[in-house]
Structures are given as C-alpha cells and as structure tokens.
Symmetry: C2
Subunit: 435 residues, 2 copies
C-alpha cells in the first residue's frame, strides 16, 4: 500500500482510507518538521528533555501503574498467556529502570555534529564527514511498554524525531508514558512532535507507516520474528531489523579445555531466552571425548535438554538424536543441539549453512584458527574465547541499545546512538573552483 | 515479482519463467559461492586480477572496438540519438581510460579486514569492528560499456562478487570486456564467478535481480532517473541509489564578492551535465546589486540562459522570469535559475523545499552563517566557499567512485570502496563468561 494509491478515491471505503491517510500524513508531516528543529538543537536541550521525562515518569509512577492495570485486565480478559502478561506488566521497579535508562542516555556523548577525517585534498579543498541524524525513525513494537521510553530517548539523543507505534494491548500504558515525554519535551523547549506515540491502534496504520517514504527515513521493528519478517517484506521504507539469533560456539581441537567448558556453559546456561544465547555447540572430534561428557553433565544439571549427532549420543548418555531441523532451530529455550565435527572447515561450513549471521564464537588457543574464524564467519559479531551472551550494546560499550541488527547494510550487530545517525560530507574551500 | 512466486508453476508461460528463474538462481548461487572465496582472498590476488584484466583489455582493444562497432551499428539502425551513441561508443582512448582505472584501483589500500576501535570493556572482553565485504553486489546500468570494467574492479577490490546487467544496446561490448575480466580472474586464481556479466538482455532479468534477496545483498543502479526510480520502487533488495542532483549555491551577505563570482561561475559553467552542477543560485539581497550584473554577464557570455525572480530580472537584463517549476528542475543543461533572498533563513528554507539533498554550497566570510549552513542543510555534501562541481569521489580522495548516493542510510555522497563494505563486531576474550 502506498500513500499515493488511493489519492483519487471516491467510494465510501476509500474515503475512510483517506481519513486514515490524513492521520498518517499529519503525523508524518509533523514529525518531519520537528526533526528539522531537533537536528539543530543543542546537546543541553536534548539532555534536559531526557532528564525532565525521567522526572515525570518518577512523579507519575502510580498513574502509569494504574493505566498499566487497565491493559493487564484487558489482556487477562482476552486470555493472553503468562509470558505476554509479564512483558506487558509495569511496576515501580520497571519504571525505575526506564528512569535509569533515560538518565544514562543523557550522560552519553552527543554523536551529532562530530566532524571526522577532515583532510586537505590535492585541489586545496578540505573534505571531512559530519555525523547527522537520519531524520524520522518509526518504531513498531509489541507488548513491552518500556520500549516507549527507551526508544524515545535513543531517538531524541541522536537528534531524530520518533513515531512510536506500540501494541494495542499496551495502549493505556504507552499513552501514560507518552504524556510524560510530552511534558519533558515542553520543559526543554523542544517541539512535542519530536516524539509522537500513536493514539490509534488501527492495524492499517502499520501498513501506512512502513510505506510512508516521504515522512519516515527508517523503520525499526521491535518484537517477534513474524512481526519483523512481515515488516521487512512489506516495507518500502528502509528497515533496521533483527531476525534470528541462531548462535554457535565451536570448540576447536586447540581449545583450552577448562576455558571451553566455562565459556560454552555460560553461552547456553546463563539465559536461554536472549538472542545471543548459543543454540548449537560444535566440537572438534579431537577434544570431544575429553570434553563432552563433563560439559554435558553440567548442562543436564542445569535442566538443559541435549540433542546430538551420532558421535555426541555415543559420548553423552541421555542425549537425544538430533534431526536436521535441530540445526536450523533457534530454541530460545533450555534445549541445545551438539555436533561433533572433523575439522575447522566443517565447523565453518555448518555455520555458513545453518547460522543466522547473528553471533558465533570459536574457542581455541591456535592463532591461525582464530584468524580464519574471525575473517570467514559472516556474522554481525564474531568472537574468540568468549561467550556469545556478550552480544549486547551495553557490553560492547555503546552505552545503550535499540536492538541488534542482522542487516548487512548501514549497521550490523548491537545498535546504539551511532547506528541511528548517518554521515554527510563537509567541504571547505577559500574560493576554490574545480579545474 | 519474487523468486518464490512462480515456483509451483504448470502452464507453458510459467515454465518459461521457471527457466529464466533457474538462470537467475544459478547466477545468484554461483555469485554467493564466489563471494565467500573472494571475501577471504588476499589483497595480492585481488590486485593481480585487476592488473591482469587491465592487460587483457589492452591486448584485446581492437577486438573490443570491433564488438563495439556492432553495438553502434545496431544502435544507429534503431535511431538512437547522438548523446546515446556517444555514451555507447568505445575507442582506444576510452579503453585506455578503463585500463588506467583498473591500475589505480589496484593501488588503493584494501579496505577488507581492517580492525578499528578495538577497546577493552569493563567485563574484560575486547571489542572492535572489522571491515568486511557486503557479499554480492548487483549493478544495473545503461549504455556506457566502460561501467562493466569500472564496476567489476570496485567490487573485486572491496571483496564483493558482482552481477553486472548492462543495457541491451551495449551487449557485444560488454561481453567482450567480460571475456577480459574472466581471463584476469583465472590468472589470479580467483573464481570466474566473482564477476558475472549477464549474457541475456531479457528485461525480466532486471525484475528478478532486484528481488533476489537470497543471492544479492545490494543493487546499485547506474543510469538515468527513470531507471533508478523504478528500481528503487520495485526492489526488495537494498538499493544504493542516486536520484536528482538539484544543487544550490547561496551567496551570503557576508560573501567576498570576488570569491563568490569565481566559485558561482565555476559551479555552473565548468560543466552543465554532471550531477554536481549548480542549478539554482541564491543571492542575498544585500549583495545582489553589486554582484549579479557582473556574474550574469559571465554566464551569458558562456551561453547560459538565466531565469530569475522579479528582483533578479530587474537587475539582469535578458533574464527570463522564472516559474515555480524552475526552482524544482534539474536542468543538466545551460540554464540557471537565480533567486534573490532576504536572509540566510530564506535560503535555507528554499533549499529544504526545493533541493534534492545532493550538494549545496554557501559563499560567506561569516563563521556563524557557515556553521548554520553546514549543520542545517540536509544534503550528502555541504560546502563552504567552494564549487558544487567538487562533489566527486576522486576530488574527495576516495580514489575511485561507483556513484553518488542520495540515500541517507549506509552511505551518503560519493561512494568509493568503503561504501561497498560493512563492519562486523569482533570480540576477544580469554575464557570470559558473562555475569
């Protein structure tokens, strides 16, 4: 669906569409205007806004919890499952965590306006790059209402106007948070349209957002794979997206066995449900006998189900036979598939075939093997002798994270403030003309 | 059209499609395989390939000219215009220029594998970024056969496999050049599928290329606006594109008059037909009387037609009255629109409304005005006291250029080798597990 497609419409259905379009058009036009002001606003104003929003969230905590209760009641009445209700739920601790997030983002360096690589060229002109906002960022997310504050803060600090479209199940919570954002923007003398939280939960608005090329520069979906996949398929606006996190750890023949057990255990057992959790363990045959029984015992004690290749099953009592589907499954659960490989080449081929390009690690003391793995594995994060669970914006020193990109273009891996910016060329002369 | 859409086809038409698809599928799969080998190939091999290709182009010059003659005869028979015939035509000078291009690219530093920003994090892990190829790049271009060699060289050096789809009018020339590329790749022990020049000129292949998400990572159209626009609209693969170059020069009230005349004349009169040529001159009212008559005389003597606002027409005899359309037109010809503005703000507003985000310049000695212009103009290149004609990869020190991007994401402005790469995170630990 494009904004143009129903422009000259006559039927009743079309005229309804046309009202919706006006809504998206006015939201988009307001965002665009606000983005120009925000792009040139000073760091101090942006930080003031962040701190004022934080302060309003604190002051309005009981109101937010009250509005969240409405969402929770509706969700229970609709029979949403326990995991969904947990994601939807806000209490004082979670509100405090939003407040801390805003305060942290206010302390990060402002990426906007930074000029780098400024060098003189043979013609006499001086050429460099200036970091600039992308413009307007559309965020489409599901049940977690904390995304409203987190995403608003990251967009604001990086000088981008934000159009936020949360799930209908969180609408009361989102609008309560939106009210705090609005007050904070006003106190910092920034246009309230810098952050617009959609008040309508009409599903067709998502379709309009992802095709509003005139108004929105990039869409970031935050939610399950089906949402992300659909947005990726249907959007004409550029999308920074995170699909699967099917992460591997490969224990090389030259691995230090103690390090390998320590790291491989952590990669799976620390938390199952995050995208950086290991889903498949690859073990070189030279170390499998020595290492797998011990490691498997630890996994089993942690309640992790093991599914292995034939060699694994021979070494690990209690391991089930893995099927072909297992190698391609992101469990996000207490299940691990294990494969014994004959060589580094086989490990690389397995990762190339089954991996999702998210995060993969090698455990080895062999520099050549480490270098080959680093160079040849085509994933957003490639690791040596450490846990895939480290794939995270905070752990990488970005200070904040809006998600992890599995795109190849623009930004790959954890996305912080810099991922929400672009660079333009700046050129200085002193009356220079081109020959 | 997606690759999946006719998979289970039965009719005769569908089975024809399915043969075409197999072609695109096999080209795509071969490119993907070659890209993995190329991504890990050494700099020396890539440079050897470039120099061998250059050498074969030199040796085969008369064969290439002969094949080009076939294209030219066909084009003449079809009644193509003189400009088109000129773009299509290859002679020894143009072949020598391709050869020089290849040699220059062989001398540029290899961007692949560079690790930057490697820092220790509080957890003890070390995090950095490694520059990597994008994978497979599809180039869709029109009549200029030299693009075949230029694009192949840039993709090769940046470690990307290339799928090249030139215009049907240049097919004999392109295939002759492709033969030289193939020989060069073989001599350097690189897979010949690193660069595939499409042998079929079937138009539906373009549709298949731009939706071949599984095989192609980015599409770069090189050609007229209608081709680029269509590809941008229909592609599901990411597109690095160059749309309009509606460039402005704003002469501020604090401009040095001599510099202003020198630069503004060059910005238009040096060459009309390039995307960095100025199309609209904005002049602050405080300097218009002093400056415009002299500058207009120079333009007129260079055969440039002037179309001005009311104030301009009052100052410049012979200037035609500009219409609203003029402010939005990329002439790429000997026509210039001129507007007198009351303030820097009016200039900024005019550029925001009518500009294309390509390249815009301010002429001023006032630091505050220069800073505002640099910060607020949202274009891929923003210039101070110099000619918009400098918007060019070679002038910017990139060493080579595959085009100028008017995208905001991934890469903006002139695109050299670095624009054809991405960065992945590399993480080093020594048995570190995440808390």
């Amino acid at each position: 669906m494009t904004l143009e497609s129903t422009e000259n419409s006559n039927s009743i259905e079309d005229s309804t569409n046309s009202i919706k379009q006006n809504t998206m058009q006015s939201i988009g036009a307001n965002a665009r205007t606000a983005s120009h002001i925000l792009a040139r606003s000073q760091t101090a104003n942006k930080n003031t806004a962040l701190l004022c929003i934080a302060s309003h969230l604190q002051q309005q905590a009981s109101y937010i919890v009250e509005q969240n209760d409405k969402d929770l009641s509706n969700a229970k009445a609709k029979g949403l499952d326990a995991a969904m209700l947990d994601r939807l739920s806000l209490d004082n601790t979670r509100i405090e965590s939003m407040v801390n997030g805003l305060e942290q983002i206010s302390k990060l360096p402002d990426p906007i306006g930074e000029i780098s690589d400024l060098t003189f060229q043979p013609s006499g002109i001086q050429v460099g790059k200036m970091r600039v906002p992308l413009g307007v960022i559309g965020i489409i997310y599901e049940s977690r209402p904390n995304v409203t504050a987190d995403a608003a803060a990251l967009c604001l600090k990086s000088g981008n106007a934000a159009v936020l479209r949360g799930g209908s199940e969180a609408i009361h919570s989102n609008l309560a948070i939106a009210e705090c954002i609005k007050l904070g923007l006003q106190e910092a003398d920034l246009p309230i349209d810098c952050v617009q939280v959609m008040q309508s939960t009409d599903r067709s608005l998502v379709g309009q957002m992802i095709t509003a090329n005139e108004y929105i520069d990039v869409i970031i979906p935050r939610g399950g794979k089906s949402l992300t996949q659909r947005i990726g398929d249907e959007a004409s606006v550029a999308v920074i997206k995170h699909l699967d996190g099917l992460c591997h750890t490969y224990i090389d023949e030259a691995a230090d066995i103690d390090k390998a057990i320590h790291v491989a255990y952590n990669a799976k057992a620390r938390r199952y449900g995050i995208c950086g959790a290991m889903e498949t363990l690859l073990v070189h045959q030279a170390v499998a006998t020595n290492l797998l029984p011990t490691l498997a015992k630890q996994y089993t004690e942690a309640g992790i189900e093991l599914r292995g290749c034939k060699q694994t099953c021979a070494l690990v009592s209690g391991a089930k036979q893995a099927t072909v589907e297992d190698w391609g499954t992101e469990y996000l659960a207490g299940i691990l598939s294990i494969k014994v490989v004959q060589s580094l080449d086989e490990a690389l081929a397995h990762i190339a075939q089954h991996g999702s390009g998210h995060t993969d690690a090698i455990i080895t003391e062999d520099l050549s093997a480490a270098n080959r793995f680093l160079r040849e594995v085509d994933s957003s994060s490639v690791m040596v002798n450490t846990s895939t669970q480290f794939a995270d914006g905070f752990e990488y020193g970005l200070g904040a994270e809006i998600g992890i990109s599995t795109n190849k273009l623009h930004v790959r891996g954890p996305v912080g403030l810099e991922g929400l910016t672009s660079q333009k060329y700046v050129v200085f002369g002193d009356g220079h003309a081109r020959k």
